[in-house]
Subunit: 400 residues, 2 copies
Amino acid sequence: MKRIAILGSTGSIGRSTLSVVEAHPERFSVVALAAGSNVAAALEQAKRWRPRLLSMATSRAADELARKLKGAGCGDIEVVHGSAGAIRVATHPEVDFVVSAIVGVAGLEATYEAVRAGKSVGLANKECLVAAGELITAEAKKHGKPLLPIDSEHNAVHQCMRGGRLEEVQSVWLTASGGPFLDTPASEFSRITVEEALNHPTWKMGQRITIDSATLMNKGFEVIEACRLFGLAPSRVKVIVHPQSTIHSLVEFVDGSLLAQLSVTDMRLPILYALTWPERIPSGLRYSVNDLRHLDFRQPDMQKFPCLALAYEAAEAGGARTVALNAADEVAVAAFLEGSIGFDEIPRVIRDVLKETDVRHPESIKQVLAMDSEARQLARERVEQLKSRKAGTRRPVVAK
Amino acid sequence: MKRIAILGSTGSIGRSTLSVVEAHPERFSVVALAAGSNVAAALEQAKRWRPRLLSMATSRAADELARKLKGAGCGDIEVVHGSAGAIRVATHPEVDFVVSAIVGVAGLEATYEAVRAGKSVGLANKECLVAAGELITAEAKKHGKPLLPIDSEHNAVHQCMRGGRLEEVQSVWLTASGGPFLDTPASEFSRITVEEALNHPTWKMGQRITIDSATLMNKGFEVIEACRLFGLAPSRVKVIVHPQSTIHSLVEFVDGSLLAQLSVTDMRLPILYALTWPERIPSGLRYSVNDLRHLDFRQPDMQKFPCLALAYEAAEAGGARTVALNAADEVAVAAFLEGSIGFDEIPRVIRDVLKETDVRHPESIKQVLAMDSEARQLARERVEQLKSRKAGTRRPVVAK
């Protein structure tokens, strides 16, 4: 029986994880959950899963939940809150495996503490590797515990890597759907609306990651994640556009063989893989090979999608630059979503922030968070400049 | 240093194996060679590789080679001949690894003896698994020694299998180029000429295997080989047509993940893989992922290509039926090549021979060879019937 904690239990990955647990009650039990501020969802999960410990984002939400749990006869569930609460969930002594799925830098500290406490960790939080990857992977190595990727690309790489030893890997090829603007001329990028950018061709995801997919920044983050997860230089992690998203990634070995992983696009697959590794168990999610028809590929256009090139630059520098890449992108994407800057200005904001960020290597999550704040501040200033420079210019119409 | 014997050293796979050995003198040495009747080629190889032992197919060729070797100052190389000679090569005490690449049933006995002598074996000879697979795999299992496939499809499967345990494999998907008649209506099959059938779209190979690719019988043999090599029921080994032959095969795991192997189409890759397994070393044969454009797939049409269906039937029955499948196919293909029967009559000959073959399981290579002779006789009789029935009918024009 694997005893599980979920950081971000009410989010999409958290809910998918619970559905995987539900399908395999003989294998998994839920010990601790860290939810956000959605008390109703957390209450439901608490009643269904009866964890020992449940953490909410705020004390207010925690108080409300505790009250309702008592009313529901679940007063034995301990309710905590905040980042200290999330850390208690992540390091609960009865937990074997922690699913790290809190979105944004909020999940960093708890994930880091889970690794430090010697837990096996499934990583769905991008920032853990992009912003704090050097710290977290070093710690996991020290404890000899696996960091298992819970996203389709790195999970695919993890699977393909089994075909050889790490020293036998020549390159990793991350596939990219290419987003909605694969065939849009760069000259039209300044006129791209929010609605158009949110219309991703293959995956339905949150707003930020959808925009990051449209700029290819998401693939850039994945390059950095792959470098850190698998200990590869950025030059060994490559991107190939594959609009069908059927092959989730490939690993090229020194002998010239490539292994590719294919599956249906369902997050329960990488979650199950991470939870059961090194075993595989039936998921009920079969890919119909007989329905395979055409797979298309092309090279990414780094000039048209400068975010990808910026990510490679940040990956080469590491440290504060990758922290800044993530922070500046989050600010720039938010500014685009609220109509303050154009689609083509997202990479400009990020480029300027990277330029102003010295390469330093954080030695603690606290330092990562400080670098993150600094980069956000720089990005906000840059957004303001762009706004004021363009004051009076018509911005693209923003979809609700 | 891995010490190698090659059964079939002057054939295509034998020569490719020697070029792999040549590229890695620090890893491999050549101890013994079994050639065919080409004395000039064997002499060249003997002078270059200085094996301890060299076997020729006939005593005449052996005598001629021995004379020439003495003249060339290589009188220390022992020259033997025939199947006893090939067995001495396969079981030479200084040999670690035997490459089995003698075409046809001639290679069976020597390969079987190599396995019985506890050698690691790389299998390029189809008959070893199709006709004698039950015997050979049982023997390899007994000795705990690997049978490593040296052909692109099973080598791909072997690589993909590393992504999980055997019990975690749901299905194996062998890719088929589909041959030159993928889009030819079945109604035109009786008019297919030898020249058309020898025009394979992706691989340049010998005549029999090229015709076997055109009828899809080659894929049928590969289904049987996969069943025996990996211990899978025929229903778990599937075929998908993939005209580009870029993905060499796929393995589907119980969790719904598929791993696929891609590489350039060069036999030196599976040879190197087999010789170095479980390691991988640089081959210089890189597949350019950036040149990937389109991969197409479709289901095989078993009605149009009845040879594939016949192979599944034989695979289910096993024993004498798979021996007969191979023997009848060889006779039928030869009859087609000499213009005696039509392309559409190849499966008819095989079907009739299978019908007349009782399911018995051979207990020795001698029994396999007896079953083989019997099936060949039946096939020749069937060919004669077809010829006499059609006497007076114009046969398709035969290309030289």
